[in-house]
Subunit: 489 residues, 3 copies
């Protein structure tokens, strides 16, 4: 919200920004070819950071409608390039790069920054920046600034992401562009030569690349449990006895699938850590790369955890809704009718009271711990944790949440699973299926906590290697480092 | 929380900070006039960042009670100014600036930084910094550092906001102050000449400037719906038939107004985007400024969205409370009594069960999507999104939330609106009124999604202009840029 | 999540990173002794930021299994040290420092950075860095980079915490290390001489140091209220009349203790501010340090507030659970049975309806305000507030939440406390005990809001001191500063 607060300040300063040009005649002059939104935002930011700006347009008179602040000089494209000290931004649509060939002479020796985005992912051929470099072989073409939006440029670094990806072949020119990005308040990241420009151009097109796998896994789990519950509770009784309970589809069946998905997904968060530990123990070294699928599974744990939290939260809300819905009222009224007719003064069943209180308690506490985990996965909160705190939260609290969730399910199931009526059509209840993986993870974790394995694992993680990996002339490696590897369970 | 962790570290280092003064005799000496809280915090930060500090007090012996760390030299005001290499901070209350006139000679040629805040908004006359500049015409007066609190100075940049607004007339002096701010770990923002100092001084006085309009709009909407519901449900039946249902005021009536406010406010988030698109289509160009009210409406969308989320959350909580309250129990007991007396064994109404399940489902899902939107509006989460992800979340998920909310309301209304009993005293129910604007927005959005309009709009946003805007000698503008303008729907 | 997005980019650039070494032969060469995880991550980051890297291993052939990117030169330890321009990192386990003594000669005059962590808190003897400095008296030993994880190094500054604590005795060498940290994208903080290295080494071992006291206080409060409620509601009736209500332990008793804890904890947030104000009024000056316990109490207010919010949230969820549990259904059915048997057509009690609606309303609103407070305590949200907004939220909204919570409790208690049945075994109800401290805080706040006291306090906080503190020759101190001290109520 402070962005909006600053905006009038920036506006008021830029409206009188023609004076600073006189005041600091030594400020470097930056050229911008093109007069669109990006050009306008960039020029405002450059002015605010003490640069002088010359914007080159094919027809400067057409543009001058008060879109650019007073301090910006609007010239022809050639004049803009000639007026720039060193750096010229090419804020022109890539399809029009060929219209700039006339500027080849004045641009020779200058640093030309390509700020364009790719229009689609995995496009073939050279990147925009590489095409620009072909047009201007005597200029030093750099790629960068495309990941920042016009908005971030205008509103100040505090509002948008501060990271700017930059690449290019000439190291001196790159140093100048990195320096410029820093003066504009960004955190430039040097990604190497111009061959990396395709990656940079496609970065803004990525749509949550790290979320694809986890969302797919969660969705498939949901489909399975929803379908299973539908067949077991609704379809088979309908085909078999003609019972119509399709009204359960929007709420009841969803709320049977959701907790199962949440539980299994939470187990999937901790399973890869166990697998990694087993692999390290089996191999006797940590210096061997994990298989690719395990690596990407380890990287997706945060996303899986958040999706598990989302399912758990929806399960909590749906459970409340089940009590609010009309059907709950009807059921209660009919039960009251039956109780009165049967003349039962007290319908209290002590065991059922304990059961519902216990599973509600475990559920609430498990969900509370999961919510704490979700809060610490916010970037600004997680960044404030040191390594030991992070491990405590993610591993300690995470296993606490898993244990409480398993207990929630066990108390919910009570002893019903031991009676035949829990297996209509020989199908076990959903919660039994959902318990398999979490229980396996908990057992595996307890197994790895055996002193001999813990000790062996700690040794491996501090750099020790079993004899078959060690070259014969070295007894014990001296180069190890503090135990803070990411594979830590 | 890491701030508190660091504090002992800082304290332990500054307590032995007299040694660094000997160790690095070349560190620049910064002077501070005044010995209050700000002076103390600033000196601690300067010391920690490798500067030497001389604090000037009118009576240095009075101050030296261990408030300043050991590394700071406490001197008279004149000695402090003379001892400073270049930069002197004036950490003195503005009312006492006149007491400093004796320092005019030693301050000549030095950079004098005014760190004071304005005491009230929109005050007339010169700013504090301008008054200071009048007192010291031979010094280079800079404005800055006032937006950071003493706390942020002391605790390190990580804890407080890192942005520091700076202005001043002399560019060399300003470069020195910007450099100093950077070495202290802040992100300085240059706002131009000293004429901007009033804005900087008033910045800390602003109280959520961007929230005023949206909060007022939401509040007026709430008043309207609350009053309407009060008149329709409580006042008119009371005057007409003497029915006393005033007990509905604290919960039931509030919970009738809240969802209406949430729905209309959510529609208000997406309406200005549609208006902007229509305006651009009608004008045939994007290079014309929007009217001022539309601009400020567009800027207030995030706030409106968060207020809509707040109302929706309150509506959810209130709906749960409606089931928890005593009145719900009484109603149920009386219904049970009537059912038993009437001898109705089963009161199940399949249609009502479907209705309640459907509107609860849509409500929960719509609220869940709205919660995701609210999470991504947290600065640290939103900053991690690229432009495409941001558009997907804000526009895609936003319209999904609006659609689900409209469906929630439609399922809630069912077919009741077609019966005369829904119009007591000829007043339509609240939810019908609340549906008007959201439905209009959805229809408008679908209309704009027609291929011909989408194509035309994309062309305009890439810089195309209709013939009447183009000067005759240009066929097609070459200077366009990637489609990332903020007016994007 | 953008970390994962960037990773492929970084990977793709580093895989071809051998070329940049040729391209920019002038990039400084940094040496790293040791070839563990930290060494690997550091080398990746150094490469990505334009440095050249030589990693020294005791047996370079053993390490080269593709763990290091192509651009890194793997040499012997001696060659790595000799190849480094100036800075050499010692990424070796501290127990093996003695194995490096052979490098004393080539390391002479170079800057040797110790990146190790302490293995336990409050260890005696010299720190790792001090031991390293003893081994290499001719090298300039610096401490730093230990607080960043290997992960933060590899993933880019945006993902991990950006703050890096650095200390060392030689100011020139320190300047070089600070500069290097900045080029790697971190925010270095200079903590002074090497004597601060123990603090830096122990920083990663701290486990939420600022949370210990508040969590202990909250836990003790919970124990007290839970025990009290257990004795009053369950134990004494069981011993006295043999009533078995142990089924209330998991939910009902917890939900009686939670709101009491939340209320008292919230009062504890605002009590120290009042005490500080009283102390300042009594002493007539703000230039005297508060007693140590008050200082640490003032520092723990944020944590206390968040714990109060946590308890309030659990209370809200538990209250909903109370309506969902089996026992609630049984109670309702039995009540219906009794109503039918007694022939009461309408069990409506208007007063009870008002009572439940009023306490639910106050509770929901108080909790909503508390939730807003909790959101603003997120670092990324709080940083965006200026000082006035922060005061408005923390003080204004905080007292609003306290007042609403007290009203919630008062409405809940209604007039029951005036009847003897509320005092079984002469024990007052829990909510009466919980109200004492909050009411005292509210009364104290109103008392401090008396004009004469407010005026006096504002004077003191602007730097005024009563006569007994002032040296005789000064009338009124001129050095005061804007009223933004942290002791502000």
């Amino acid at each position: 919200m402070e962005g909006d607060m600053r905006t009038p300040l920036l506006a008021s300063s830029t409206s009188g920004a023609s004076e600073p040009l006189q005041q600091r005649p030594g400020g470097p002059v930056v050229g911008i070819i093109g007069s669109g939104d990006f050009s306008r935002s960039l020029s405002i930011r450059l002015l605010a950071c003490g640069f002088r700006v010359v914007v080159g347009s094919r027809d400067p008179r057409r543009v001058a409608r008060g879109l650019f602040p007073d301090g910006v000089e609007l010239r022809s494209q050639r004049e803009a390039v000639e007026g720039a000290d060193k750096v010229v931004f090419a804020a022109v649509y890539p399809d029009h790069y060929h219209t700039l060939v006339g500027l080849r002479e004045p641009l020779a020796g200058k640093v030309l920054v390509d700020v364009s985005n790719a229009t689609r992912l995995n496009g073939g051929g050279p990147s925009n920046a590489e095409r620009l470099a072909e047009f201007f072989p005597k200029s030093k073409v750099m790629k960068g600034f495309n990941v920042v939006s016009a908005w971030a440029l205008q509103a100040g670094a505090h509002d948008g992401s501060r990271q700017v990806l930059i690449c290019g072949d000439c190291s001196d020119s790159k140093a100048a562009v990195l320096q410029l990005a820093r003066r504009l308040g960004f955190s430039p990241v040097d990604l190497g030569g111009l061959c990396a420009s395709r990656d940079i151009e496609e970065a803004p097109l990525m749509l949550f690349p790290s979320w694809g796998g986890p969302i797919l896994a969660t969705f498939l789990l949901f489909l399975f449990f929803y379908g299973y519950s539908f067949v077991r509770h609704i379809l088979l009784p309908y085909l078999d006895k003609g019972e119509n309970s399709f009204y359960q589809l929007p709420l009841v069946t969803v709320n049977e699938a959701l907790p199962a998905v949440a539980l299994v997904t939470l187990a999937l968060v901790y399973l890869p850590g166990l697998l990694a530990a087993v692999l390290q123990l089996g191999r006797g070294t940590k210096y061997k790369r994990f298989p690719r699928w395990l690596d990407s599974w380890l990287c997706g744990r945060k996303q899986l955890g958040l999706l598990s939290f989302l399912c758990a939260a929806l399960h909590a809300v749906y459970s409340v809704c089940l009590a609010l819905r009309r059907a709950a009222g009807y059921t209660l009224l009919n039960a009251a009718y039956r109780q009165v007719k049967a003349g039962v003064e007290n319908s209290w069943v002590e065991q059922q009271v304990w059961r519902s209180d216990l599973y509600l308690s475990c559920g609430v506490l498990g969900f509370g711990v999961l919510a704490l985990l979700a809060v610490t996965s916010l970037p600004s909160v997680g960044n404030a944790l040191n390594w030991r705190e992070f491990t405590f939260v993610q591993s300690g609290l995470g296993y606490a949440a898993l244990t409480l969730s398993v207990m929630h399910t066990l108390f919910f199931g009570w002893d019903f699973a031991f009676f035949p009526f829990a297996y209509p059509y020989y199908l076990p209840p959903v919660y039994l299926l959902a318990l398999i993986l979490p229980c396996a993870v908990l057992v595996g974790r307890i197994f790895l906590a055996l002193p001999c394995l813990t000790w062996q694992l700690a040794k491996i993680r501090r750099g020790w290697e079993s004899a078959r990996h060690r070259p014969p002339n070295i007894q014990e490696p001296a180069e190890v480092d503090p135990p803070r590897s990411l594979g830590d369970v």
